[in-house]
């Protein structure tokens, strides 16, 4: 690349962003050239999403300069406009489609100067074309309402819209954890498309906690830590372990974390559902399969059937860890502490009043245990980064004494270090006799399980045990009937 006369699409010089006392970004220097695919990694709360918001102009930096296409600009609200004109587009970490609109109507929203003539037809074909280009073989109808789509389809729609044809061509597309709710096969399609996009001269900023994906697509990797860019180098200079170390998460990577330590002895069966899903005491049961094939419903059913709408129990039979944070988990007006203690209120309070002391104790304990990145648990939950919010939800459930824990893709947006920590905790809890039902879109996570049910069309297509739990077996079970059906 050296020697070419490329104009950078965006240049950040000495940029800093503060939220009150929190310095989310410090002294950031970043230049992105056409054709580059920049992978951004960092622990939860490292400042990745903040960086993205500075680049696309939604946040004004508190310090430093941002320039688009080599042109200097004062940091102000017009940046969003400049970014748009420079062909910068974003897919945000929290899905930002309008659920009440159809897919094609959502295409219209970021499209400022859309020609109005026969726009529905044009929009439908533009979305269709983009969906086909990025995710070949998908069956999403541009006329369907987003709310009716499963979360994976929604994420696909949002990505497709970001890559779709408009008056200003996409030159830099920022993807903030785009694969968090996609299953492996679909994610691979996206990665392939990204490579093609960059080969054609486009640029990508790709944020992910999946090291495999980063190494797959990134030509350059930027490592962030506590608001600083600590490393920024060609992808070839990194190794997987090196990258994890660079992110600076200190987790003892002991042997007991790996799947090899799988136990063979379990207690009696503690759960059996109509569709055949069952679990024994102390077992970690995985629910695999393509996203949207009824795993989430099965989990919800399991949870709802064992808890009541009418009373809360001091020793609940089952607790839930949500993956879709804003829909299923977070209480947006509350502090971190209140969010964390919700599930266990009746457990630690002896009377009908909230035992504040016990609440504080539980919260402090988990704050320490799981490393929620905040200095005050009284801060509002929304001031946390996405991954840290997820940690709060985790703590909420694990703090309970319930013998069964139901987890609906709980690691969405959780960084590698924390993931390992959580795996370890799950293992430890399982040893103590807790049972886990774990739905995940990540194969790595499923490989951690003792037994796996693969779902297809809302039914169990296969039950894998021990050495049968391999990526290949899961994929085969997920696809079999689809192929047969076609």
């Amino acid at each position: 690349m050296i020697g070419t006369q490329k104009v950078p699409i965006i240049t950040l010089a000495d940029v800093g962003v503060s939220f009150g006392a929190v310095k989310a970004l410090n002294d950031v220097e970043l230049t992105i050239l056409p054709g580059e695919c920049v992978g951004v990694v960092g622990h939860n709360g490292a400042g990745k999403s903040t960086l993205v918001n500075v680049i696309n102009g939604r946040l004004s930096s508190t310090r430093g300069d941002v320039s688009y296409d080599g042109e200097q600009s004062a940091a102000d609200f017009r940046n969003a406009l400049l970014a748009r004109n420079a062909g910068i587009r974003s897919v945000f970490q929290e899905l930002s489609l309008c659920p009440n609109l159809t897919v094609l109507e959502n295409y219209r929203i970021p499209y400022r100067n859309m020609p109005r003539r026969a726009w529905r037809r044009n929009a439908a074909s533009a979305v269709r074309a983009s969906l086909d280009a990025v995710f070949p073989g998908n069956a999403i109808d541009p006329y369907s309402v987003v709310d009716d789509l499963p979360i994976a389809d929604r994420q696909m729609v949002e990505i497709a819209i970001a890559f779709s044809r408009r008056d200003i061509d996409a030159r830099l597309v920022i993807l903030d954890e785009p694969t968090s709710s996609l299953d492996g096969a679909i994610a691979d399609q996206l990665l392939a498309y990204i490579k093609k996009f960059c080969a054609d001269g486009g640029s990508i900023i790709f944020i992910s906690h999946m090291m495999g994906e980063i190494f797959d697509v990134a030509s350059r990797i930027v490592v962030m830590k506590d608001g600083f860019i600590t490393q920024d180098n060609d992808a070839r200079h990194f190794t997987r372990d090196g990258l994890v170390d660079a992110m600076g998460h200190v987790v003892p990577d002991t042997a007991e974390v790996t799947g090899a330590k799988r136990r063979q002895e379990f207690g009696p069966e503690v759960l059996r559902m109509e569709n055949g899903l069952n679990a024994r005491q102390g077992e970690v049961v995985g629910l695999a399969g393509l996203a949207g094939h009824g795993q989430a419903e099965a989990l919800a059913q399991c949870f709802l059937a064992r808890t009541s709408d009418w009373s809360a129990s001091r020793d609940p039979a089952v607790v839930f860890v949500a993956g879709d944070r804003s829909r299923d988990g977070v209480m947006p007006l509350w502090s971190i502490m209140r969010n964390l203690s919700l599930q266990t209120l009746v457990e630690f309070s002896r009377t009908f009043l909230v035992d504040r002391k016990a609440e504080r104790k539980v919260a402090d304990e988990w704050h320490r245990k799981i490393g929620i990145k905040t200095d005050d648990l009284e801060n509002p939950i929304l001031s946390l980064s996405g991954g840290n919010q997820q940690k709060v939800l985790f703590s909420r459930a694990l703090a309970s004494s319930a013998p069964i824990v139901v987890m609906d893709d709980p690691m969405r947006g959780v960084d590698v270090g924390t993931k390992k920590e959580v795996y370890r905790m799950i293992r430890a809890e399982a040893e103590k006799g807790r049972t886990f039902l774990w739905y995940s879109t990540e194969t790595d996570e499923i490989l951690e399980c003792d037994r796996v049910f693969v779902f297809r069309d809302s039914e169990i297509a296969a039950e894998l045990q021990g050495d049968q739990i391999t990526e290949e077996n899961m994929l085969r079970a997920s696809f079999e009937m689809q192929e047969a059906g076609q």
């Binding site: 709408d309 009418w310 209480m331 007006l333 509350w334 919700l342």
Partner: protein, 311 residues
């Protein structure tokens, strides 16, 4: 989002109106008398307002429009039962509470079983309650028993008895919201019902409790108001439909649910009484009075809001 201490503004507004009214108060005892009257009448608004607050806290679309009808029905049936007999006061109160329970249950079953949006469910049931009240007593006005009338119009330690009752109700409500587990549950349900259910909150029990207690409070308020004003009318309580919502929202509760405020209800209730007194005392006509009331409410709400929004 209205800031946490939004009710400060309601108190400032109430205080300002009080002082403005005092400017035209002639007699020396007028200031005290005005305050006494304000507390008396604010009490009824506070009692229904607390109930409405719980309902409103449940989130968008939750509001109880059947409060006036529940008040009327409870008052009509209990006063008819007591038939001015002083020995029947306790069963009379029990009847008012029972009617409240019934109304709340009915509302809740419409909302829960038939899944009718609360605004419409409570509006519909209010028509039914109104019919029941008409049918049961044909609008005849029966006086309350002597002891009851004396109690509700009287005062203890210089504070109206009605205000004592309202104070008791609001302290209880404050404890529930701030201290009790049930309060957390209500707030959680109001922010995100689905997430609350998945977080172990018994959402149906919460909604049940909220609608029923709102109706029970309306029943009690109706009972007291009828005792206070010398009998139950078919149109008593009409003004408490808007009033109950107004005191909740002016008092600083976030109508989006999940953030409520008991002290603010008192401020707002006093304010709503004093503003009418003030404008009446200044001899302003109904048109100007209504206009100014509206403008002042809006200004208080705008002042109480925080500038700017989250990114």
């Amino acid at each position: 989002m209205v800031s946490r201490k939004a009710w400060i503004w309601a108190y400032i507004a109430a205080g300002a109106t009080y002082i403005a009214t005092l400017m035209v108060v002639s007699s020396s005892g007028g200031a005290g008398a005005l305050l006494y009257a304000a507390f008396t009448f604010a009490s009824f608004a506070v009692i229904v307002g607390v109930g409405q607050m719980f309902v409103v806290t449940l989130g968008p679309g939750n509001v109880d429009l059947s409060i006036p009808a529940s008040m009327t029905l409870a008052a009509t049936l209990s006063l008819k039962f007591m038939a001015t007999d002083g020995s029947l006061v306790v069963p009379g109160l029990a009847i008012a509470i029972g009617v409240g329970l019934g109304c709340g249950l009915f509302n809740f079953s419409l909302i829960m079983l038939l899944r009718i949006p609360p605004i419409i469910a409570t509006l519909s049931s209010s028509f039914l309650f109104q019919s029941l009240a008409i049918w049961s007593n044909r609008g005849l006005r029966i006086k309350p028993p002597e002891v009851l009338a004396d109690f509700s119009t009287g005062g203890t330690f210089g504070i109206p008895n009605a205000a004592w009752v309202a104070l008791l109700v609001s302290v209880l409500a404050w404890c529930v919201l701030e201290k009790a587990i049930a309060g957390r549950w209500i707030l959680a349900t109001g922010q995100n019902k689905r997430a609350a259910r998945l977080g172990g909150v018994p959402v149906n029990a919460v909604r049940f409790g909220v609608y029923v207690s709102c109706a029970v409070l309306a029943g009690v308020a109706g009972f007291m108001l009828a005792s206070f004003s010398g009998g139950a009318n078919l149109n008593m309580g009409t003004e408490y439909m808007l009033m109950s919502i107004a005191v909740v929202v002016i008092g600083g509760s976030s109508i989006a649910g999940g953030n409520s405020n008991v002290p603010g209800i008192w401020a707002a209730a006093l304010f709503m009484f004093l503003i009418v007194s003030m404008l009446n005392s200044y001899g302003l006509g109904a048109g100007v009075r209504l206009m100014l009331t509206g403008l002042i409410i809006v200004s208080v709400v705008v002042l109480a809001s925080k500038r700017g929004r989250r990114v």
